[in-house]
C-alpha cells in the first residue's frame, strides 16, 4: 500500500497545544459532588506485626467520614496473587488492599481515612495509633536466599519466588576452549519511574445502578475495568475506567496498586466518590521500583574477536509481593533472554533467581530488564576488545549478527526477523569520526581532560503478542481494535484502545487514519482512554501503540475508505477502483479531478441511505482489528553512542555528545519518535548517573524525596541526536515496530562504556550504576 502523508510526517502532537494552554485535565483537576479524600497510614517499618490499630481519636477529628481497616473491607473487595501461568514455578503470596496482621514493606498501607479534604484526612491519620511489633527484616536478595533467613512470607516456606535457566549449546566446553574469557560482577541499583503527575484516581460507586466509574491516571483502562469488576464483584458492563490526561506513566501506571483498589472499595463501602492522589512521599514508598539486580556474567572470545558464548547469572527480587496482574518476573526473564542478543554466538547459559524481601514492590518500568542486558553485554564486549587489542568498533563489526543471518532465533530463544545492526553502526560512523575522536582524546588526556566514547547496541522487544499474557492467564489485551465513524460533515472520529500518557500516540494513530483514508490530519479526532467508549485494547506500555493500535487503525481506515468509495461510486456511476480520496475529497484516480466532498458522501450514508444498493458495503462506522499471531515480540534495534568527560577530581560527568541511531520500522511521525527517544535517553541517563534508592542497615529508605533522590535535569543533559533507519516488519501491513523504550534501553550501557573508556589511563573498570561521583573517585583511589 501507498503510505502517504501525513504518515511519516513530523507533526506536533495533537494534545500539546491544549496541555500548553493549561487546558489539560488530570485526575486531580476533577471534582465530584460529595467527594471524599483519602489518606493512608503506612508502615514505618520494613517488617512489623500490627498488634492493634486504635482509631477512636481519628474518628472524632473534623471532617472525617470513616476510618477503614483491613477487616472493614472483607466481603467488599477480594485479594489476589501475582502469578503467571507461563511460569508455573513462580510462587506468589496472597495480597490484600490493606495489610492485615503483618506489614511487609516500609510504606505498606494498614488503614485509611476518608475525609472532607486531604488535609483533614492527614490530620486524622496522624491520630491513628498503631501498636507495631518490629520483626526481623530481609533487605537483600543474597541474604534472603541464605539458609536460615527470616521468611518474608511464612506461608511460602522460602524466600525464593522464582528461578529459571535458558540454555543453548555447551558453555562449559566452549569456555574451556576459548582464547579469552572475561568475567564481571555488575550491580544495577534500585530506582523508579518518577512521573511528573503522581498516581491517583477518583472512584465513584453508584449503588442505585451497581455502577463504578473510575477516573484514573493509568495506562490500561480495560485491564483496570476487568480487575475492578472481578475484585469488587460488580458486573463488568457496569464498570467504566476513564484515563483523562496522564502526566507520564513509564510503566509504573500499568499495575494494580493496593491503595488504588482500596479507594474503589471504600467508594463502594461509603457509596460516595473517593479521591486518592499519591503525594511524593507516598510515590517513593509505594510506586513500583525497578532494576536492583546483581549480575555475574562471562563472555568467551576467540583470538580474532569472535564471541563464542556467554554465561549469565542474575539475582534480583520482587520486593514483598509479586506484582499484580502481570507478576514480577519480567525483568529477570528479559535479562536471561536478551544478553548477548546482537552478537553471533552459539553457546549460551543464563540463569535467574528472584527472591522476596521487605522492600516495596519491583515491577515494570520503561524497557523492563533491557538496559541491564544491554549494559552487561556491551561492557563485556568492550573489555574483550581491550584485552584482544581490538578497536571496539571493529570488534562489533566482526561479531554482530550479519544481514544474511536473519531470520534467526537468538540463543536466548527470541525470534529475530531482520535487524539492522550493521546499518546502524554505519550511520553512526557517518556522524561520528571515531579516528578523529581518538586523536582528540589523546590530546585532551595530556591536558588532564578525560574524555571517553561508549557504544551500546540494543535490541528492544516491543509490541508483546497475545501469547504472553494470554497464556499467562492475565486478562490483558494484546489485540487492538480501532473504531472509526465518519460524521455527516466529513470529519472522522476515531476510538482506539491505546492510551496517551504524553508520548503522543493519539497523533500517530490520527496520522495513520488520515493517511490511509486520504483526509487532512485535522479532520480526524482520536479518542482514547475510556474503557466504556473505546474498543477493548491493551492501552500503552511495552512500546506497543504504533505497531499494534496503528495496524488496527490502518485496517479500520482501509475499510472506511472502501465504503466511502463504494457510496461515491454509486453516486458517480463509476467503479470505486477508478476513484481515490485525496485531501478530504473523492477524486478521479487518474486525473485527480475533484468529484465529491466527503461530506456529500457522508450525508448520503447517514440521511439518504436508500440511494445505495443494499448489497454494497457502505457502513460509515467501522472497526479494524489486529492481533498478531505466532510471535511473542516485535524486536526493534539501534545503537547508542555517548561521548563524555569525567572530571577525575570531582567525579562529575559532563556530556559532550549523544547519538542514537534507531530502527523501529516504519515511522509514523519522526518528530514524536525522536522525542520518545530523547525522553528515554534522559531516563536512561537517570539510571546510569543519578537515580538510586538508598536503604540504611536497618532497612529504611533514606532518600524518599526529590531533594535527595536525584532525577536527571535539563541543564546536565546532552543535546541528543537521533538518526533513523527504517526496516519495516513484514508481520504487519503498516510495518511499524515500537519506539517508546529504545532510548532507555541503551543509555545505561553507552554511559557505562564511555566512562570506562575515559578512565582507560587509570586502568579501572566500573560496573556499578548509578555512576555517582563517590563511586568514581573510589575506583580511582582518590577517596
Amino acid at each position: 500500500m501507498n503510505f502517504q502523508a501525513p504518515i511519516g510526517s513530523s507533526l506536533p502532537r495533537d494534545r500539546a497545544k491544549r496541555l500548553l494552554a493549561g487546558r489539560g485535565q488530570y485526575v486531580d483537576d476533577i471534582q465530584l459532588p460529595r467527594m471524599l479524600h483519602l489518606a493512608f497510614v503506612r508502615s514505618p517499618y520494613p517488617h512489623a506485626r500490627v498488634k492493634s490499630i486504635e482509631t477512636i481519636d481519628a474518628v472524632a477529628m473534623p471532617g472525617v467520614a470513616r476510618v477503614v481497616k483491613g477487616a472493614d473491607l472483607v466481603g467488599v473487595v477480594s485479594s489476589w496473587r501475582g502469578t503467571h501461568n507461563l511460569f508455573p514455578g513462580l510462587k506468589a503470596p496472597e495480597q490484600h488492599v490493606l495489610a492485615g496482621d503483618t506489614a511487609r514493606w516500609q510504606g505498606e498501607a494498614v488503614a485509611a481515612v476518608a475525609a472532607r479534604s486531604r488535609a483533614e484526612a492527614e490530620d486524622a491519620a496522624e491520630q491513628i495509633v498503631v501498636d507495631w511489633e518490629e520483626l526481623p527484616f530481609v533487605g537483600d536478595a543474597e541474604v534472603a536466599l541464605e539458609n536460615g533467613a527470616t521468611f518474608v512470607h511464612d506461608s511460602l516456606g522460602s524466600n525464593q519466588a522464582f528461578a529459571a535457566e535458558v540454555k543453548q549449546g555447551n558453555t562449559e566446553l566452549a569456555f574451556q576452549d576459548a582464547h579469552l574469557v572475561i568475567e564481571r560482577r555488575f550491580r544495577f541499583n534500585r530506582h523508579t519511574g518518577v512521573s511528573l503527575e503522581s498516581r491517583g484516581l477518583i472512584a465513584d460507586y453508584d449503588p442505585s445502578a451497581d455502577r463504578l466509574t473510575v477516573y484514573q491516571s493509568h495506562q490500561t483502562p480495560h485491564q483496570q475495568q476487568d480487575l475492578y469488576a472481578r475484585l469488587l464483584d460488580i458486573p463488568e458492563q457496569n464498570v467504566r475506567v476513564i484515563c483523562p490526561d496522564v502526566g507520564g506513566a513509564f510503566g509504573l501506571k500499568h499495575h494494580l496498586y493496593p491503595d488504588e483498589l482500596a479507594a474503589c472499595a471504600i467508594s463502594k463501602l461509603l457509596e460516595r466518590p473517593v479521591k486518592y492522589i499519591a503525594d511524593r512521599f507516598e510515590s517513593f514508598l509505594s510506586d513500583i521500583h525497578c532494576r536492583d539486580h546483581t549480575v555475574t556474567a562471562r563472555m568467551a572470545f576467540t583470538q580474532e574477536g569472535d564471541i563464542v558464548g556467554m554465561q549469565v547469572d542474575d539475582l534480583f527480587h520482587a520486593g514483598a509481593y509479586s506484582q499484580y496482574p502481570r507478576s514480577s518476573i519480567a525483568e529477570g526473564n528479559q535479562i536471561i533472554r536478551l544478553c548477548g542478543i546482537p552478537y553471533r554466538h552459539e553457546h549460551y547459559r543464563a540463569a535467574v533467581r528472584m527472591a522476596y524481601l521487605n522492600k516495596s514492590l519491583l515491577g515494570h518500568i520503561r524497557s523492563v530488564g533491557h538496559p541491564i542486558a544491554c549494559a552487561v553485554t556491551e561492557q563485556l564486549v568492550d573489555l574483550g576488545a581491550k584485552q584482544l587489542s581490538l578497536d571496539p568498533v571493529a570488534m562489533r563489526r566482526r561479531a554482530y549478527l550479519r544481514d544474511e543471518d536473519f531470520p534467526t532465533t537468538s540463543p536466548g530463544g527470541i525470534a529475530l526477523e531482520h535487524l539492522s545492526f550493521h546499518g546502524c553502526l554505519d550511520r553512526a560512523l557517518e556522524r561520528i569520526d571515531v579516528d578523529a575522536f581518538r586523536r582528540e582524546q589523546a590530546q585532551l588526556r595530556e591536558q588532564g581532560i578525560y574524555r571517553g566514547i561508549g557504544f551500546a547496541t540494543f535490541v528492544d522487544l516491543t509490541s508483546i503478542g497475545p501469547e504472553y499474557y494470554g497464556e499467562g492467564g492475565q486478562h490483558i489485551s494484546a489485540q487492538e481494535t480501532c473504531l472509526l465513524r465518519l460524521e455527516a460533515s466529513g470529519g472522522i472520529r476515531c476510538y482506539t484502545g491505546a492510551t496517551d500518557q504524553g508520548q503522543g500516540i493519539d497523533s500517530g494513530i490520527q496520522q495513520v487514519v488520515a493517511g490511509v483514508i486520504g483526509v487532512p490530519v485535522q479532520d480526524v479526532k482520536v479518542n482514547s482512554g475510556d474503557s466504556e467508549l473505546c474498543p477493548v485494547g491493551g492501552g500503552s506500555w511495552g512500546s506497543r501503540g504504533a505497531a499494534l493500535a496503528g495496524e488496527a487503525a490502518l485496517r479500520a481506515g482501509q475499510e472506511l475508505r472502501r465504503n466511502i468509495l463504494n457510496i461515491a461510486g454509486v453516486l458517480l456511476q463509476k467503479v470505486p477502483e477508478l476513484l481515490d480520496i485525496r485531501d478530504g475529497a473523492v477524486v478521479d484516480a487518474t486525473s485527480g479531478a475533484k468529484q465529491l466532498a466527503l461530506a456529500e458522501v457522508a450525508q448520503i450514508g447517514h440521511f439518504r441511505p436508500y440511494m445505495v444498493p443494499d448489497n454494497t458495503p457502505s457502513d460509515l462506522t467501522v472497526t479494524g482489528r489486529y492481533a498478531s499471531r505466532d510471535r511473542m515480540f516485535l524486536p526493534a534495534n539501534g545503537l547508542h553512542v555517548a561521548i563524555l568527560d569525567v572530571d577525575t577530581d570531582t567525579g562529575l560527568i559532563v556530556f559532550q555528545r549523544y547519538l542514537v541511531v534507531h530502527d523501529c520500522g516504519r515511522l509514523l511521525n519522526p518528530l514524536l519518535v525522536e522525542e520518545q527517544i530523547r525522553g528515554g535517553v534522559v531516563q536512561g541517563i537517570g539510571g546510569a548517573l543519578y537515580e538510586e534508592f538508598i536503604y540504611d542497615d536497618d532497612g529504611y529508605l533514606c532518600n524518599g524525596t526529590l531533594a535527595d533522590y536525584l532525577v536527571p535535569m535539563a541543564a546536565e543533559m546532552p543535546d541528543i541526536e537521533v538518526e533513523h533507519l527504517e526496516t519495516p516488519t513484514a508481520t504487519s501491513e503498516l510495518g511499524a515496530k515500537g519506539a517508546g523504550e529504545a532510548g532507555t534501553t541503551g543509555a545505561m550501557g553507552a554511559v557505562l562504556n564511555a566512562v570506562n573508556d575515559a578512565l582507560t589511563p587509570f586502568d579501572v573498570t566500573l560496573s556499578e550504576v548509578p555512576l555517582t561521583p563517590p563511586r568514581i573517585l573510589r575506583a580511582l583511589g582518590k577517596i
Binding site: S117, R118, A119, E122, D123, E126, D279, R280, F281, D649, T650, G651, L652, Y690, E692, I694, D696, C702, N703, A707, D708, L710, P712, M713, A715, E716, T772, P773, P774, L777, K782, I783
Partner: protein
C-alpha cells in the same frame, strides 16, 4: 503532604511585627519567601500555628549604601541581588554566588534573610556572609542588635536569632579595589544544594594576600572558616607549592558529616579540590 491548619498574620510595620512576635513567641514562624517554610509545613515537619508574613513591611526589601557598607534588607530576593548593580560593584562575591542558588523560580521568591535565618549548612549566602565579615541586624520590641557572621551561625539550622526577633538587614563592608574574591561549589545538578562549596574574600597588595577568609559550606553543620589554611596565606604570594600546602591544611581541618549518598571522605576531598581550584584562579588573576 498537606499542611495542617494554621493562622496567618500580616503586620504592616516593623513595630507592629516585633510587638506581635513578642506575644506569640514559639508558636509563630516568620514567613519570608516561603521557599523552605511552606515545604516544611506541607511535609508536616514544621507545624507553626501562626505564619507571620513580613512581606508587607516597608523598607525590608531595599539595598542601600552607607559610606563603608552596603545594607541589604532581609526581604531582598535572590533575583534582586542578581539584578543589583550596587551588589555587583560593592559585593561582587554575592553576584557570583547567587546564581548557584536553586533555579529562577526559587530565586524570584527566596530571600537573603530567609536563607540566613534558616542557617542551612549547605547554603551559599551564610558562607558569603562569613567570607565578607558581614553583620546581621536583628530587631525585637526593645530595639536592634548587630551580630557578626562569625557569631551568628551556631549549628545545624541554628543561629543566634531568638523567636521574638526579626532579621531586618545585613551590613556588608564595601569591596575595595584591593579586594580579591572567588566562589565555586560542586553539585550533582545545577541548582542543587552544594555537596561542598567555598567562598573566598580577602585583600591583595601587589601579589601578597592579606586577611583572606576561606568560608566553606556543605562540609559541616554550619558554614565554617578553614582557619589554619587561612593563616598560611597571610602575607604570602600564591605559588603552586603554597596552594598545595593550603589544600592539605584545609583537608585536615574539615570534618564533614557522613550521609547515605555522600561519604564524609568525598566532601573532604572536594574541600581540597575547591580551594586548589579557586586559589589557582586567584593566582592567575593576580599575575
Amino acid at each position: 503532604m498537606k499542611a495542617p491548619d494554621f493562622a496567618y498574620l500580616r503586620p504592616n510595620t516593623l513595630e507592629e511585627a516585633v510587638a506581635a512576635l513578642g506575644r506569640f513567641g514559639d508558636d509563630a514562624r516568620i514567613l519570608a519567601g516561603g521557599q523552605t517554610l511552606m515545604a516544611l509545613q506541607n511535609f508536616r515537619m514544621a507545624s507553626a500555628e501562626i505564619l507571620f508574613d513580613i512581606n508587607w513591611i516597608p523598607g525590608l526589601s531595599d539595598i542601600h549604601e552607607e559610606p563603608d557598607c552596603l545594607v541589604i534588607g532581609s526581604l531582598v530576593r535572590y533575583a534582586g541581588l542578581e539584578a543589583s548593580s550596587l551588589i555587583e560593584r560593592d559585593a561582587p562575591l554575592l553576584s557570583e554566588a547567587v546564581g548557584h542558588i536553586a533555579h529562577p523560580a526559587v530565586r524570584n521568591r527566596g530571600t537573603i534573610g530567609g536563607s540566613l535565618a534558616l542557617g542551612d549548612p549547605a547554603a551559599e549566602m551564610p558562607a558569603c556572609m562569613l567570607a565578607l565579615n558581614a553583620e546581621m541586624v536583628l530587631c525585637d520590641a526593645n530595639g536592634e542588635r548587630r551580630v557578626p557572621a562569625d557569631e551568628f551561625f551556631l549549628g545545624l539550622y541554628e543561629t543566634t536569632l531568638r523567636p521574638d526577633e526579626i532579621l531586618t538587614a545585613v551590613r556588608i563592608p564595601k569591596a575595595r579595589p584591593s579586594q580579591c574574591y572567588a566562589f565555586d561549589e560542586v553539585a550533582r545538578r545545577r541548582g542543587d544544594f552544594a555537596l561542598a562549596g567555598l567562598a573566598i574574600a580577602g585583600k591583595a597588595e601587589g601579589s601578597a594576600l592579606h586577611s583572606v577568609r576561606l568560608a566553606y559550606f556543605g562540609v559541616a553543620d554550619r558554614p565554617v572558616l578553614a582557619v589554619s589554611a587561612m593563616a598560611m596565606l597571610e602575607g604570602q604570594s600564591l605559588t603552586a607549592e603554597l596552594i598545595d600546602r593550603v589544600r592539605e591544611a584545609a583537608i585536615g581541618e574539615l570534618d564533614p558529616p557522613d550521609d547515605p549518598a555522600t561519604p564524609a571522605a568525598y566532601r573532604r576531598h572536594l574541600g581540597g579540590v575547591l580551594v586548589a581550584r579557586l586559589l589557582g584562579q586567584l593566582r592567575e588573576r593576580l599575575l
